[in-house]
Subunit: 483 residues, 4 copies
């Protein structure tokens, strides 16, 4: 098959009957639930665009592993250009959905595990890479969407996993069987877990001697016995129940985040890629980190493009778009957006070929990219609020506009320049409201800070990666300091 259509993707997920909970209750068919549908639309776009002839080069790639065309979201980097295209693909999807399309997890984790298992096998003589390759082929052939579960519940962050009063606060191995293992714990802020065929489980940090039970990487199907997808509440998520209304802002697309509970989930050995090797546990999130941090340089730039377009239109619709200060602010929004994109691109360009045969991004620049992503969207948001006006916070809605009694007032008084229907202005105001303060804000603002770990994780990682000696030697040479 290798490339599914969006419809095939939806069907494949529908068949799984994963246990999804919203508002404390299990929902019968996630594919038909108003809160879930927009998130599926978004994930489905990663399949739909791959069918589009216009985007073949960007959305698909040739895989040497199955010797055929695959969705780029399942591709192992074969060159610098693959990493560049990843960023461009992410920007495209951000532009088309204005939210988190979830499936970058597949790409970023597969590439990390490809390297990590290879390195382990070389060092330890294990067979993880062989196992992983087998699963990779399945993943590529069946065109899976696979999430990544790293962020443990963690409990008291000042304590190590084994020091927690409750040993389950970090996901761990609770039983070893002949045919596999049983794991327990929970992973939070799980992007698109209920829209995914599988979830890659991996440690969220390095482990130490004595913490063997917490050193586990594996692949778990979304409908595994004991796996619970508990939907998180985004700000403004109730609007999804009224999907016909333009008050929803972005009427078609949203992200999906869950609390993913592993209540004694069994994993067969062939889906286990790390097992108690504590000294290798940190390598997986480390390798994943830079990959994923780079992605934000694309996807958040794409969402920003939508925000910029909406803001520009609102300015035009109210006749302020030619004011010098508005033009300066619009330009500034572009500068900030392109800055994170540049960081994403450079992270690819400065990547390298590893002895695993695959390519890998520049770790240092990946962290630089994400640290900018954690700052600049707030500046972009402020500019958008400034330009869009106070109405952003308190516009009447579609029911007001269409009210037999007062609709005429809303239509009359929210009108901007001649020739533009009031409704158009209102739709854009709600799009912006949803991006910045509604259910899309989690994908644009919160995730920009915390995706791929919080900024301090990137700062620490970066600090270790800097070649301080090189910089110090430059200064010493210039000042004739001899050690």
């Amino acid at each position: 098959m290798a490339l599914m259509t969006a419809e095939q993707y939806r069907e494949s997920i529908r068949k799984m009957k994963s246990k999804v909970y919203i508002g404390g209750e299990r929902i019968s068919d996630p594919m038909d639930h108003p809160v879930v549908i927009p998130s599926q639309n978004t994930a489905a776009m990663t399949y739909e665009l791959a069918q589009n002839p216009q985007y073949q080069d960007l959305m698909t790639a040739y895989s040497p592993f199955i010797e055929g065309k695959v969705n780029r979201f399942t591709h192992i980097y074969q060159g610098i250009d693959d990493m560049v295209k990843k960023v461009k693909m992410a920007r495209l999807l951000g532009q088309v959905t204005a939210t988190c399309f979830q499936r970058c997890t597949t790409l970023d984790t597969a590439n990390a595990l490809f390297i990590a298992t290879n390195q382990m096998d070389k060092a330890l003589g294990t067979e993880y890479h062989k196992r992983f390759l087998a699963f990779l082929k399945e993943l590529q052939e069946k065109d899976y969407h696979i999430g990544v579960a790293m962020t443990d519940a963690k409990g008291d962050r000042s304590l190590r996993p084994t020091q927690q009063p409750d040993p389950d606060m970090w996901l761990h191995i609770v039983e070893e069987k002949s045919d596999g293992i049983v794991i327990r714990g929970a992973k939070t802020s799980q992007t698109g877990s209920a829209n995914a065929h599988y979830t890659f489980v991996a440690p969220t940090a390095g482990m130490r001697k004595g913490e063997e039970a917490y050193a586990i990487a594996a692949a778990v199907p979304g409908d595994a016995e004991g796996l619970y997808h508990i939907y998180g509440r985004n700000a403004g998520d109730d609007r999804k129940y009224d999907a016909h209304s333009f008050d929803m802002g972005n009427p078609k697309f949203s992200s999906q985040e869950t609390l993913l509970v592993f209540d004694n989930v069994f994993v067969p050995w062939d889906k286990v890629f790390l097992y108690k090797e504590v000294e290798w546990a940190g390598n997986i999130p480390f390798l994943f980190g830079a990959n994923h941090r780079q992605t934000y340089g694309g996807c958040k730039a794409g969402v920003s493009d939508v925000l910029i377009g909406a803001t520009k239109l609102v300015a035009e619709y109210t006749g302020i778009d030619k004011l010098p200060h508005i033009r300066d602010k619009m330009a500034e929004m572009v500068v900030l957006t392109e800055t994170i994109y540049c960081c994403g691109l450079a992270t690819a360009l400065e990547g390298e070929k590893l002895d695993t045969g695959s390519y890998y991004v520049n770790q240092l620049l990946g962290n630089v990219c994400k640290l900018n992503v954690a700052e600049l969207p707030f500046k972009i948001a402020r500019l958008a609020v400034d330009i869009a006006g106070g109405i952003l916070g308190d516009a009447p809605g579609e029911k007001d506009l269409k009210s037999p009694e007062i609709g005429k007032f809303v239509d009359k008084y929210l009108k901007g320049v001649a020739g533009v229907p009031t409704e158009n202005r209102m739709k854009l105001i709600y799009l912006i409201q949803t991006l910045l303060f509604g259910f899309n804000s989690v994908g644009y603002v919160v995730e920009s800070v915390h995706g791929a770990g919080p900024p301090q994780a990137q700062k620490s990682s970066l600090y270790r990666l800097v070649d301080w000696d090189h910089k110090k030697n430059l200064a010493k040479t210039l000042t004739n300091i001899k050690d």
Copy 2:
């Protein structure tokens, strides 16, 4: 009476039967509507705290006009100290409600109209000040909450009022009668209009010759014939319908903003304070502006205090509060908060006594204050998101926590440090979510940018107020430049 209790205030509003529309329909009793109730709770706090012995000095003042104690929100400044206390009162109410308490409009407008009408009478021989004083006494004695309606619908912002295709896009006089006048138009983003006894109508900008019909200031009762309060939609406002749930974040308090339509509203002469004097039209928003811009130095600092407190608790509940970078970020949140407060205080301190007998804030610093308010809350918000963690965007809610089926998982896995119930952590996460991305965000983030006019209005105003010659002369003197 002079000082109403909160209950008396509620009753006084309930009796008015103002025409309030939500979702396109007129609601029968605004005082009982779940969307309106939290906004009334907030407005009512301006009455409740004035009854509290602890806050007498801050919340009340002696009025020479009625020779008795009044709520400070109805007070005309008799000294620098009154302006200082205004900022402190605003901070207190921001701290107690974490949202916009609406009634600063009464104080800021009454002080502006007191001066403006006085200046007009002196210059023009009119009787506006006499009229205003009569109404002021009523306002103080009856302890009114009065809103201010300045921001016109405006249509195409590149056109003057008379150039608009629809002449109603700026509120204007449509008829003069023997006993009063008739006005038409709409004012947007009306803070607390449905919670107010009256609304002060005033121009939003200076007017020119030929625009006489647009030069109008007046007081209009909230239940005037032809007056429509159309509720605006805040991000996340649906949560108010589920007020028993902690998902509401701030379960008791919200702001209120409406589109206020004047569909041929009659105003008797004794409530008219500006009538076609175009050259004086700009003076009212100008005087109001600095007053109101100063207020933000108090109220937004107060809301920030809540955000800081909630963020600190969340950090403690997860055991990260002692990390150096968390401490630095917490300190930074305080610095930003106190900076806007300092600006508010200095705006008072550098105020002066006018020949109207009343005091007035420092205009330049009022604009400095508001320009900082338009920037810093976004920085504070980013820090709060950084510290509170990704869970801020996607925590399960109260129904999840209390679900017979999966409540145990939520309770177990969202737990932080020992001894703190999971529910407490969740409540604070929802408080922060509501402040930054939910229905309180309009009062904290959007209003910080656009309240008292957009930043560019403050910048222009400030530019005109700077004594450039003084600064230029300093430089000339130092460099011996003689003109």
Copy 3:
């Protein structure tokens, strides 16, 4: 005497014959040295302006201690208004000199020692306050300029004083005699030490048991035996040797910083204000800190005023001052400047009366003030560079303008708008260059960061001062969290 004229001040310093070194050599008469003269001019302005009838209210005060008029720089705060006027006086002197006028050290330290000695006597039954009062009267009557020596050499900052390989890296007591004590060590970045009659010596941080020798506060005359003033090099200081040239930028005023070496300096008992009481050592820099941090809200705003004036003139001289982006940037320079000033004022306004009888600033806001000072001047500087143009970095100088050969070219091609001599534009360019990159930059940029301690010192201090519980309780109350 109580108030000296500038000339009397100069004479009083000239008589002292302090040991001042420049370029490694002792200079014969500091009062006649081209590098020192501008710094004396600046210090002398604190005397000159106090003689000016226009500034009596700001520059002088009534002292209850000598029952007469004193220079405000020697005054102990008797009310909130005194602390407000301190900030205004500092701004005035910044405006008039565009550099560091040095003498705020007298005021800020005297007020700290007044309180500290009072508290010690109450707690310990010592006589430090009595001693200090005696010296205070002398200081006020003789109108002294007194510096403050806190910042120790410190050596390896990761080691405590007693752990240093060289015990002198922190100033300490080396001998106790019947009539006094002998101290050794050095204090760095000493503002105006060679222009001062005395220097107050105090610890730069709290001390612990075992560090008694390092707990010392005292007053030492500038020409004490064993005291060496070693002039520091400011960027661009060589221009002072060519004082007739406008290339000097600020031809009359500079700051002064020295490395002040105490090579076994004797101090009589009556000038000793702390002696081995380690638990009280930290109190002095703590009390001094907030006082001094507030001052920057005035003085740096004053220097910014000059920079703003010069930048505005340069914009006018080249015909760009009416461009919208230039106006916005000029306004932004003002906003940043007034923000630090507001912080300075609010630090005074929120001060309080202590049981020492004197007033004290608000510690928390003093730290807020300084933290803003440590950030905003860099933003102001960037705006000034943006507006002033690239010529700021590489303008020809006065010799070029006056060259018989090529002066005509410089005059012709550096001319801006009609009617303004080229020389005027050039003078202002050099003023700005000197403020941002020349010898005044130490007083505007470096000192803004490090004066009264580095930003991290303020952040730590602030963190301890915040009433976290109050903020946390606000959030708990709103969310109904009971402990």
Copy 4:
């Protein structure tokens, strides 16, 4: 020849006997003048490193025009990789010299003129490209350093060239002869003009009908009759006269900026590349702009590397480098530095092949790059000042350290951690002082703002380049808005 050694370069310039003025007087041999020597050392590094086998790939390229190896500074881009290497070469030279190495002007202008003349010939049937190719071959074969003269004196910036009281304020054609033309005017802030073999003259902005005389591009030898190089004064330039002292900070390298006066300079026709074609005048600075704006992403990152290295060493030398806040600030310096580098790289990566056969950078990203360069070095500078300490502004100098009288004090008290000579710490303090406030500040701080035009020029340019329609359509599609 194609590749000169540094010595050959110096000889080639020495032979030219250009008219260079310093302090109003013509200097006899610029190659021997202490103010000029460091700037030559810097320019010479572009030759020296090209001889270094280690840097062959980066510093040289194969030119199809002379069919041989050329210095990359004279190369016409033959692919994306050439533009990437340009940024890397610029960073290398910034790292090695810590200042402006001047010769990027050759590369950036040659590539712009290559395209511009090609486009003109195609559109107008002129022979400019043929002329340019001939000169290009000479330039590559003789390994010229060529400056670019764009920024006119401009006089009153609110007036067009022909409206100026003095017609020479913009460089213009004053006479047409059979063998060439005569030009008059002046160009300011000329980077390295006295170190260059030729200067490319070009308009600084687009020209309009009636301004034909101002539409001129040409190549002029540095020693042309009537050409005057008037040295500009950098902050702190006097230190160059004392080159043996470490107070110079960067003892070997500086930039060079002149006021370049064209006092009736004759240019033969074969060196004229634009002549009165007003509609094509703006194309040259436009094409040059993005090229040059990209360069800053490399060179200023290189200078930042030195600043980072020096700051890190100073932190280590005083024992503070392991403090969490210092580590965070060091990391932040790196993030800011790499951000501008990423922008430079992405500007190359997103470039394209033109129908001229050569490649060209991405214009939009070039402007994004420069706008970041105009902001971030100020933030880097602030962090460096914060970490390096107050001593940065006022350290004693080498003469103090070596003084028989007080050298022992300086050596003793400026010492940091054990094992590091005091002199090393002092050298680095002076390096930082020179980079931020001394003669290198023009190349790091001022030029970062104004190089390749002021930020507002980049903002305007960027605004025109953005594909607003694409962004608007994204928003319309998402909200179902049909036009």
